[in-house]
Amino acid sequence: MKLTYRTTLLALASAAIISQIQPASAAELTVMATGGEWQTALRKAWFEPFAKKMGVQFNEQEYTGELGKIKAMVETGNVPIDLVTVETSTVLQGCDAGVLIRLDYSKVADRSRFLPGTALDCGVGIDVYGDVLAYDTTVLKEPPTSVLDIFDTKKFPGKRAMRKAPAQNLEWALMADGVPIADVYKVLGTPAGVDRAFKKLDTIKKDIVWWEAGAQPPQLLASKEVVMTTAWNGRIQNAIDKDKRPFAIVWDNQIVEYDMIAIPKGAKNLDLAYKYLAYAAEPEVSAQLGSHIPYGPVMADATPFVPKDVLPKLPTAPDHMKAYLVGDVEFWGDHGEDLVKRFNAWLAQ
């Protein structure tokens, strides 16, 4: 129950206040990340070791990944954070809007050491995750074999959950409609292709529960609200490993994505922020996250350092890379806003 413009102004005001009360100290690094188990994993794998190694104070904040909050800070000239974690498409957006700084890779690492598409102008990759399908093995006796089974309501009746966004869902809809993986973005780039994708989504629209936060899919499965859900692989794996949930992951037709970290324009501890990026790009360091949440490293030379028991749980494990699509950042940079609007119109119908 809040008027949003008022909230924005409040955010502007609080950003100003926060920056006033935080002393500018060179031995402090503030990072804003998207929370949950993922941020806990980041803390254990990277933030705490870095703070110890450099003898600095590491401050953490949480947000929901929206660029609006960072833009408000940058526009008011009070940027109390030095690093932010963001999605790949958000890096592009933040770059365009002048909210994130263009990185000087001479201070980070050789760009060729990153997996293709993970060293962007305004952000560096931190991990590789998969958009996968998850289900409760005690509910579905006959297991789905592909993410695309989410479209099969005959064989798998009941509610299913998908992320409330056009990205990934439109790609899957086209694949389920028979488009070869290699042609997905080519087809989606045409009005007829978009119509085709929405038409496919229409067939399961009334059976879908929409999730927005990464913590929701395991909750929806646990409360038996849905029989299957799309999810980020790490959240499901952690529910299996740590909470002993009877969940399983379906990898075929997964969509591979990257998480990124970026520096907002006006960050006060720029040097230290760069030192952190360089630290996280070291192969042994890059491989640390997988032990805390099963997301793969973006440094091409880090794989040998990933523990043997972690490797098979990663989206990049050979077994999981039989049928997969890499999310196309440029495509979503071009068509994101338009397709979100179309998606919302479709939801409202």
């Binding site: 949003t4 806003e337 919302n344």
Partner: protein
Amino acid sequence: MSSIAMPSIKTRTSATDRSDSLRPLALAAPLLLLLAFSFGAPIVALLSRAVYEPTIANALPRTIAALRVDGATGVPAEPVFSAFAADLKEAQAAGVIYEFAKTLNTRLPGARSQVLRVARLAGQDQTATKEAMIKAAPLLGEEQGWAAIRAGTNRFTSFFLLSAFDLRWTDQGTIGAVPADQAVFTRVFGRTFLIATLVTLATLALAFPLAYVMTNVRPVIAGIVLVLVLLPFWTSILVRTAAWTVILQKYGLLNDLLLWLGVTSDRLELMYSRTGLIIAMTHIQLPFTLLPIYSVMRAVQPSQLRAAQSLGGRPFTVFRRVYLPQVMPGVLAGCLLTFILCLGYYITPVLIGGASDQLISNFIANYVNVELNWEMAAALSFVLLASTLGLYVVMTRYLGLDLFKMG
């Protein structure tokens, strides 16, 4: 004598009147100033974004001049293209090319990467021809592309406000509807008003009898009921919404109870549905409707009702002609309060409503936070604010609710 004294009294009284009305205003001045600076000014500044969008015009000074020479429609001739290339090159050097590309992309989906490609071309090749530029960015060879650029060169724009009503300028220069598969906002505004109405009616149906009971029982019991109503009122809206998800979910308390009682044979879909949303919103809004009604009901003299009855009025007539007119201001105030608050609901629709239950605030939040299209957010906010104020004026003027007696 009197003819001399009269004007002086008149002057004196009117002077007194004026200072009488100025004094309270002076007392309120600090608050009014604070409101103007901390609330009014930022809102105006933000809302002005809905009609003022100078990014494209600022990036294209040469192109604008060349377009003026070239003509008003169609794909322009070579000089405009070279001016465009020069502008893009400078925008790239100044670091504003991305913002330009993004802004144009809002009006012309898909333009972003094409603009960036042309800008790269212009940076490398000083003498890029029209043909080469069209090859890099096909939209530059289309009338539609240049129509969007021409429209964007106007710093004041009706684009966003029209979009808020699912309208746009057509190629013929008239205002027309956007294609049906892109029309979303009229439906969302309609839905927002519908849900606000339903919740208002539901709270009224619950609050009116409850308030009546509270005025007619012993003070101790009335006090207990009041505390029961107010306790949730003091709890954070997020906590209450989360509590409702626990109650309403498929394997939640309510479904368990209904099954156990044998009322239903199958589990109801209460979460992510409009039913659940209205239940939760009604609970949250109940005190806002109840308290104004309760306060006016307490002021009604029972002796009046008894008098009306003793004069031969039947219970319903007494209720309609003596009781209802007296409590009506409270009822209207409570309903108006709830209705307006419902228009701004955000958290509860996100957590409990389904995909087709998202209200206009959810869309505004999306444009502010995710799309970074603050112009569109400002336009939608403006429409919401204007319709809320309009409704308030109508209610106060035509339904006889006095502005200063609310609550």
